[in-house]
């Protein structure tokens, strides 16, 4: 870990301005992923702006009947919120399927969205990795790929996004609110937050330098039956091989997003139109451009079967 100076932010605008103006500055909130990476110098901030003191830890109703989740709401608190459990159970379920209680007690909403891949080659400074060191190559391509993405990848990077929460938020059509260095704010669909790797896998989001996520806004509850089905090797405290977030309406229509298969939460509004009539067509659509290796080709089958299982869960819970 490289030395860094440290300050506690006093306002969101000040934090964003400082982050853009101080060389090497980074925000720190829960720190559960950032510190992990700083220890092996994959992240090397020269200055940390601790945003934990900012007034961003509230969950409030929005005028249209949705929920505004502050960026600093801890994963535990979001999952425990009565409105989330009642109206957005797919989100509560996804949160509770992630990490461990200790990590969820620290990890924040914004931090969860912005966490980085757990690709083992990314985590090993002795291995080439285009995400860590642009242009150095990708050891995973010819290496061990069981946990890696099969869609949305590139020749430069096949890393998967590890979040469960983000998959549920994607299926809920969440919006991300931010403040930029110049003090302006904006709202963007979560769908547009994460970039695909292309030739620049080190660029993971569409946020500007210094731009601070302030909240995630959930539109009014979508109704229907919510299922989050996470498939993993051990029963807890493990990343997903495949996960399915499903919101299914009484007529069989609904929304589907996949986790564990792509560099970002993976959803296709076009493909999911077939949900009521032909669920497998949804997976076909989602995974049509899949590029697999012998290590991870099983994810094609697993995604299909997990969606079937999620639909069966949804049916039986009504």
């Amino acid at each position: 870990m490289k030395p860094f100076t440290y300050e506690r932010a006093t306002s969101t605008a000040q934090a964003a301005a400082r982050a853009a103006s101080v060389p090497g500055a980074k925000f720190v909130a829960g720190g559960t992923n950032l510190l992990d990476l700083m220890k092996i110098e994959i992240e090397t901030p020269a200055h940390l702006i601790d945003v934990n003191g900012l007034d961003l830890a509230k969950i409030e109703p929005t005028p249209d009947g949705g929920l505004r989740v502050g960026a600093l709401v801890r994963n535990t608190d979001l999952a425990a919120d009565a409105r989330v459990r009642r109206d957005y159970p797919v989100l509560a379920r996804a949160l509770l399927a992630g990490a461990s209680p200790q990590l969820r007690n620290r990890a924040t909403t914004a931090g969860n969205l912005l966490q980085r891949t757990r690709c083992p080659y990314f985590y090993d400074p002795d291995q080439p990795c285009n995400k860590r060191e642009p242009g150095s190559g990708c050891a995973a391509l010819a290496g061990y790929r069981r946990m890696h993405a099969i869609v949305g990848t590139s020749d430069a990077c096949i890393a998967a996004h590890p979040s469960d929460m983000a998959v549920a938020m994607r299926v809920l059509d969440a919006q991300v609110e931010t403040i930029r260095a110049d003090g302006t704010t904006r709202s963007l669909p979560l769908a547009d937050l994460h970039r695909l790797p292309g030739s620049t896998p080190h660029l993971e989001t569409t946020l500007d330098a210094g731009e601070l996520v302030t909240a995630v806004v959930l539109p009014p509850p979508p109704g229907g039956v919510h299922v989050y089905r996470k498939v993993r090797d051990r029963a807890s405290y493990a990343f997903a091989l495949v996960s399915v977030a499903l919101v299914r309406q009484a007529d069989g229509s609904g929304r589907v997003a996949l986790g564990g298969v792509a560099p970002k939460p993976w959803r296709s509004e076009e493909a999911e139109r077939a949900l009521a009539s032909d669920p497998q067509a949804v997976v076909d659509g989602l995974l049509k451009d899949a590029r697999t290796s012998p290590d991870n080709a099983f994810k094609l089958t697993l995604a299909r079967r997990t969606l079937d299982a999620a639909i069966a869960d949804a049916r039986s819970s009504r």
Partner: protein
């Protein structure tokens, strides 16, 4: 004291303290965080400097150059140790690769430098400022590819043959010929390898996390080129070992070298992501098993061949060991073959040999029973043997495998099992029951102890024995309490210090029986000294803090009135282990659920029935068995060090990537100990238990998965991707 005739009645048989399920005497320390582990001796070492280990970034090759300038200039740096500046170093007898590499690199993450700094943060940061230029060389990393180049190893007994296997197999009415694979596995103990070292003149004082104190002293001395007498090694608490801390590792040597270079006490812990490739691991195996049987279910031909790899100079995984002893059969052969691989050093992990060997053999037995249409328990019973099948003149000292199977079947409800695979459904789950035999040889080895009787009547035991979570503190205290006739709280146990008599140490499930036998020997001598001191005549009885003999009844403490009495002795062994085959036996029963849609396997119930001689403390012994069962579940379902065959290293080298079981994976576990004593093993009449518990578990899980799904997986771990294509259609789920 020599143990060369079967044990007869002795003071231990009273079982007033031994055999009782007492709480661990070190429990209050461990549960309050006051037990001190190797990195935590702040009380003894006030201002240590911090060492951070740099591991090689390549698997094989040489260091062309190493630029230390940036690191040296980093704030707080006190010294940097490399092979270049460390002076001449030897190699420990128990090490295969050098603990400080360079210029030659033998495996990935082999230590190549230690940065010593004022603080941990400074040392870690400076370690990243070392720039290394490597010349890579191609290496062999893939066991399957290296299999054909494997040779008969020069150590041990690689081959065995009795009768005419080929002829009998060819003639057998029912045959099985199957190949199984087990992956590389990691000990992954919770406490990283850690050491604190300081030099007191030319004497090295080192606290390290090590299972074998005397081996540690010898190899530290040999590596550093100093006399053994100049090494004071202490290992009072060890945060798990499982074989991974049998040998001195880089943390100890580098802490010593760092302390010498920095002229300060230095402490070093291996960073978790370095451990998997830097230290030892259980090697992967490829095992071919051929069984021939009569239609009635008698085995007539048994062959087991195993291939494994290791660095040059290394040893094979002895995965065929149990097959030489477990089942009857007139015609048999086993063979071990060893390939050279340039991965990290392969070595012992909990039940080396039997653990991976039974992972294969006990699936094969299940497969054969299925072919024969015989219940797998009955098939095992039908092929039991009471003698060493290769040497029928050698009986087993005690062998109650059949009892284990029958008792377990009864308790587990085996009768209710529908023998047809894939026949039981529980909602979304496919349900299955599996069984496997457990077998692990019992080893005994010389072990010494010193016992003191203080003026206050307190009995103090000193031995370099270690407690790696096994309960040594407690069973040694129980032994001394029984022998001296005092309550448990009147016994003090001091372990893990090279100033104390050399013990068996902890490994190979030999520690419990051997170390307490050593304490028995020392206590026997102390009893004689007490009797002499008190001027008693005739057979003395030590009970309730009193000594009774010849009609007199004296307080034990009176013997030490004039000064502490001290006795030291060791238990040594004759040829009973040669004349009788000493092994431990058990049966594992597992019930699983396999998700019909996703193939996720979850363990629902488990039972182990063990016959392993006298159980010295049923509470701590049970813990050994449930811990081993848990590790067996990991071996069955998730544990797999994945080899990157290009770069030559274990890719998933942290505790997120290498998945050991968590709470949610493990149900309530049941253990039954058969009431047994084995007079051939030692005066304690006990045997090992800690490794028996893992032997066969993974196969029982695999057999249960087969029973649940009808899918036979011969390639561990049994992850869902190996089941997925053969599960029922998911729309039925």
């Amino acid at each position: 004291m020599k143990f060369d005739t079967p044990a007869t009645k002795n003071p231990i048989d009273r079982l007033a303290v031994v055999g009782q399920p007492v709480d661990r005497i070190d429990g209050p320390l461990k549960t309050t965080g006051t037990a001190r582990y190797a990195y935590e001796h702040h009380d003894a070492v006030a201002h240590p400097a911090y060492g951070y280990v740099v591991g090689a970034g390549i698997a094989k090759g040489t260091i062309r150059s190493m630029d230390l300038a940036d690191a040296k200039a980093s704030p707080g740096v006190l010294a940097i140790v490399t092979a270049d500046n460390a002076g001449p170093l030897g190699k420990g007898d128990k090490n295969t690769a050098l603990l400080l590499g360079g210029p030659k690199i033998e495996h990935y993450h082999q230590a190549i430098a230690l940065v010593v700094a004022e603080s941990f943060e400074q040392a870690r940061s400076a370690a990243r400022r070392i720039h290394v230029d490597y010349a890579r060389e191609p290496g062999a990393f893939d066991l399957a590819r290296a299999r054909d180049s494997a040779v008969k190893p020069g150590t041990g007994k690689p081959d065995s043959a009795v009768g005419d296997f080929d002829g009998a197999f060819a003639a057998a009415a029912v045959k099985l010929d199957a190949t199984y694979t087990t992956p590389d596995q990691s000990h992954a103990m919770m406490e990283p390898h850690a050491s604190t070292a300081l030099w007191d003149g030319d004497k090295l004082v080192i606290w390290t996390s090590n299972q074998m104190v005397a081996w540690g002293v010898a190899d530290v001395a040999k590596t550093l080129g100093i006399p053994k007498e100049k090494v004071h090694l202490m290992s009072p608490f060890i945060g798990g070992g499982f074989g991974g801390k049998l040998f001195v590792r880089a943390d100890a040597i580098l802490a010593a070298l760092g302390a010498r270079a920095a002229k300060r006490p230095v402490k070093v812990a291996l960073p978790r992501p370095l451990m998997f490739n830097n230290t030892t691991h259980r090697p992967a195996t490829i095992q071919r098993i051929r069984l021939g049987a009569t239609r009635e279910g008698k085995l007539t031909a048994i062959a087991h061949e195993s291939w494994s790899g290791d660095l040059p100079g290394g040893k094979p995984e002895t995965a065929v060991d149990q097959t030489r002893l477990l089942y009857a059969g007139a015609n048999r052969m086993t063979a071990l073959r060893l390939a050279e691989l340039d991965l990290a050093e392969a070595n012992a992990m909990r039940a080396p040999g039997e653990a991976p060997g039974l992972m294969a053999l006990e699936i094969a037995i299940d497969e054969m029973a299925q072919k024969l249409g015989i219940d797998p328990i009955q098939f095992r019973i039908a092929n039991d043997t009471q003698v060493d099948p290769e040497h029928p003149e050698r009986p087993f000292s005690k062998r109650r495998l059949i009892d284990c199977l029958n008792v377990g079947a009864e308790k587990f409800g085996w009768k209710a099992r529908n023998p047809r695979p894939a026949s039981t459904r529980d909602g979304r789950w496919l349900a299955g029951l599996g069984v496997a035999a457990a077998f692990r040889n019992n080893l005994v080895t010389k072990s010494g102890a010193r016992v003191r009787l203080g003026k206050d009547g307190i009995v103090t035991v000193e031995t370099d024995m270690t407690d790696i979570g096994t309960g040594s503190y407690t069973i040694i205290a129980q032994t001394a309490a029984e022998m001296m006739g005092v309550p448990l709280h009147r016994v003090v146990v001091r372990l893990g210090d090279s100033d104390y008599p050399v013990s068996s140490g902890s490994g190979g499930q030999w520690g419990g029986n051997s170390s307490t036998a050593g304490v028995y020997a020392a206590c026997t001598k102390l009893r004689e000294a007490v009797v002499a001191k008190l001027g008693l005549a005739g057979e003395a009885e030590f009970v309730d803090g009193r000594v009774r003999a010849g009609g007199r009844d004296v307080a034990l403490a009176d013997a030490a009135k004039g000064g502490e009495l001290v006795a030291e002795d060791a238990m040594e062994y004759g040829d009973l282990a040669e004349r009788y085959q000493q092994s431990t036996f058990g049966a594992h029963f597992v019930e699983v659920r396999v998700d019909a849609a996703t193939g996720e396997t979850r363990v629902k119930r488990m039972l182990a029935v063990c016959a392993a001689g006298r159980i010295l403390n049923p509470k701590t012994a049970r813990s050994q068995v449930i811990g081993a069962m848990t590790m067996g579940v990991g071996a069955a379902l998730s544990e797999h060090l994945v080899v990157d065959r290009n770069a030559g290293f274990f890719v998933n080298h942290d505790l997120a990537g290498y998945e050991v079981p968590v709470h949610a994976d493990i149900p309530h576990l049941d253990v039954v100990f058969l009431d047994e004593t084995d007079p051939m093993s030692s005066p304690m009449k006990a045997k090992g238990i800690a490794e028996l518990g893992i032997c066969g578990v993974a196969a029982a899980v695999a057999n249960a998965i087969h029973h649940a799904t009808g899918i036979r997986v011969r390639d561990y771990p049994i992850t869902l991707d190996k089941l997925l294509d053969r599960l029922p259609p998911s729309t039925d789920a």
